[in-house]
Symmetry: C2
């Protein structure tokens, strides 16, 4: 691919790698302002693949103009978060970095709304998918039964992962665009003793939102020992999750969606009950990298890389980080952890309830605009519609491969379909994080306007 | 932890997120110059944990002054690499990013010196440890025998990982500071049929270097079907590895060592023979996230997120990326991939042989200086000494917990011991990447001078 770029050394806009994440509190999203775009950038020199929409996409902050990424993750990132990615190199066991990691884990407790000290956060290098391995390899033993609530591509993936580690999986599948309902879940739970039930809070393939609070109450009533595991990849930080109050046992997610940190981190929270299930399993954990036990070192298997006393037994590496003590099993990514620290600091600068409400309000506005265009959601029932994304059926005669490139030319990147039963029939619009929270950004209005124009260019007229 | 930092918005040195990695060729390490340190930074405002050595550490590039990280990974990073970490958000299936990922995979072939089209690179979100899982879960079936050449903490770890996935492991252990020798390896290989032999090219716990070329020739002669797997975490990009010529079957490594890219990526290369072993296994792969098969999607399990035709069967996700076709199993980290692209572009701007020779020359100089101080290497035999790190025995009466903080005050971060048999008796000095390759940096001389002074402050006198 031919590429052109101004040589780094001649470029007048110098990089400051000062770690802004260290400021104690972040004004949320304030860095976004048109005037902060360096006016010294000669946009004609930008590489073509990244500059095609310079004339139409909204100018943002100090990032070079680029098409607005409105897929259901990765999302657009805040300047300060991206700057934290450039943090200078540090030892993964140095006091400064360990403090940053520790604060990050403590902040995750607040995001997940858990104050129970037995809850355990994990942050591992990996993608969201690794969270499934973490559940399947540690909480479930070969032959144990798991009930998977089927909502689409991603619940199917979780089921596949559980099977790899030997679980006996029962999938309770719902028609495309819906979710299994409480009465059928109750019936299933009463027929067999399940070690765990898994629910995909938002299935990114359909935009179907599952309800957790009543589900959890049902499980506790009908099958109190069953662990309640939530795939929160497309829900954490945009949909309400009240870990303690709802009695959840595990929520796994990733960094690049509503949390607003670049991809590369598997982020999860487990209850004391789940941690106990992992500790008390009869068979050894069925993974090495994703083994909770390996993050629970004994004196003989773990050696601090720093001149500090050896760690007490049964203290996890994550617990040590949170206690600001250096610890080691596998090397974390200091840069990604700094970025996550920045993102969480921004999120927690306001009550999380406000964040969820803001996503809900933006989603309502977007779904109304989509309805006004005469289009239908894949998730037909408003109560089952996610608030951080919309899966939208294409109108008759309009094809994704025609529509999406037109949108891209207008500076808006939507995603195509992924659910195999309807793959060519719909598109996906992600609306999480700064794109809906930053009042200075025009991302949503621009996207809706562009969608309207692009549909017209494809020959669509509202009936 | 109390923290102080200039508020982001008042800071005069603005961040440019222009992706310099897109320049076609990189002048190696040129960004390092004292005059590029922004003189507008008020260093008194920097957080204390990161500024303690501002007066003594060499000033570098546009990164804020910080202690020089000379542990055996993570290493100091080049400015352009760190800048690539701040790349604006892109879809992981967008043409621009897919091209970057594809070029990255192609460049890895050059770094590993393989032109055999059946060789297969993998880049996954994770740490170096995940490479062990990749080997153990895909190439080895439960009950199969693996011969592990024992050189220290990290070969023990590889053995543990193999056992987790059901391998029957034979460890051929050598005394601390040495490696198993060819005659005993030949004897072991002739006694049993091993599916694979693993060798830790550089054991980061001891600084012992294993020789690969003669080892490989021996294995091919005595046990031709045995897969030759190399843990290259602390060797790839600083020690010579000639994948094709030496007939290697797998080399696993991480991003944050001699490759010079921040932590967060598991990077590996497998031969056609190894790929065939993974494809032909009788039992399914024993991991989901680290399953080579899951990165080899079938039509039913993989759906492109982009409006492109579905992928052909038996084409791996990695192969699609390299062919610049969008593909999906789990979301990669675009920012880390951009940084890796930049790092590899810098590495390949010169013949890799020159890079290996430069590391060798720097290592010779460092080891001579250490000997001149009257200190001994953990790896006693010069032929068995790594060229990217030195594990150094402390002199009688000097303790790591006394010495390392003094070094840190002088702006030099070394690592403590990690091998359980000698953990308190030695320290580790990493000398990889820009710290030894950039003529403008004074890292090595400063480190040696600081070590001499710190030893004196601890009361050490050369006998």
């Amino acid at each position: 691919m031919p590429r052109q770029n101004p040589p780094a050394d001649n470029h007048p806009a110098r990089l400051s790698l000062i770690s802004r994440h260290l400021a104690p509190v972040y004004p949320i999203n304030t860095p976004y302002a048109v005037e902060r775009l360096p006016d010294t950038i000669d946009t004609s020199l930008l590489p073509k693949t990244q500059s095609r929409s310079l004339s139409t996409s909204p100018k943002m902050s100090s990032q070079p103009a680029h098409p607005t990424l409105l897929i259901p993750g990765p999302i657009e990132f805040d300047d300060a978060v991206l700057q934290s990615m450039s943090h200078f190199s540090e030892s993964h066991v140095a006091a400064g970095f360990v403090a940053t990691f520790g604060e990050t884990l403590s902040m995750l407790r607040k995001l997940f709304q858990t104050s129970d000290p037995s809850s355990q956060p994990f942050v591992l290098s990996g993608s969201g998918t690794l969270g499934w391995d973490l559940v399947a390899a540690n909480l479930i033993e070969p032959g144990e039964d798991v009930l998977v609530l089927g909502t689409g591509y991603f619940s199917d993936g979780f089921a596949d992962c559980l099977r790899v580690y030997g679980a006996t999986v029962t999938e309770l599948k719902a028609p495309v665009g819906t979710k299994p309902q409480l009465p059928e879940i109750e019936k299933a739970l009463s027929e067999k003793r399940y070690k765990a039930i898994t629910v995909t809070h938002v299935d990114t393939s359909t935009g179907v939102l599952s309800e957790l609070q009543q589900l959890s109450a049902l499980v506790r009533r009908v099958s109190p020992d069953t662990l309640i595991i939530v795939d929160g990849v497309c829900s954490v930080a945009c949909e309400e999750i009240d870990f303690d109050a709802w009695g959840l046992d595990g929520v796994v997610t990733a960094s690049q969606k509503a949390i607003g940190c670049p991809a590369g981190l598997s982020i999860s929270m487990f209850s004391g009950r789940a941690m106990k299930a992992a500790q008390n399993r009869k068979t050894p954990p069925a993974s090495y990298f994703a083994s909770m036990k390996n993050w629970t070192p004994s004196k003989s298997s773990l050696h601090s890389l720093s001149p500090v006393p050896h760690l007490a037994d049964h203290q996890t590496v994550m617990q040590n980080y949170e206690a600001k003590k250096p610890s080691y099993f596998a090397t974390p990514s200091p840069q990604l952890i700094h970025a996550l620290h920045t993102a969480l600091s921004q999120i927690l600068a306001k009550p999380v309830s406000e964040r969820f409400a803001a996503h809900r309000a933006a989603s309502d506005r977007i779904k109304k605009a989509i309805a006004d265009l005469g289009l239908k959601q894949v998730a037909a029932n408003p109560d089952e519609q996610a608030h951080g994304m919309s899966a939208i059926y294409l109108p008759e005669g309009v094809k994704g491969p025609d529509l999406l490139p037109i949108l891209a030319k207008k500076g808006v990147v939507f995603a195509g379909g992924i659910h195999k039963e309807i793959v060519a029939k719909y598109i996906r619009f992600g609306h999480m994080g700064v794109s809906v929270l930053d009042p200075k950004r025009n991302d949503v209005d621009h996207a809706i306007k562009s969608l309207r124009e692009a549909l017209a260019e494809c020959g669509y007229k509202k009936e």
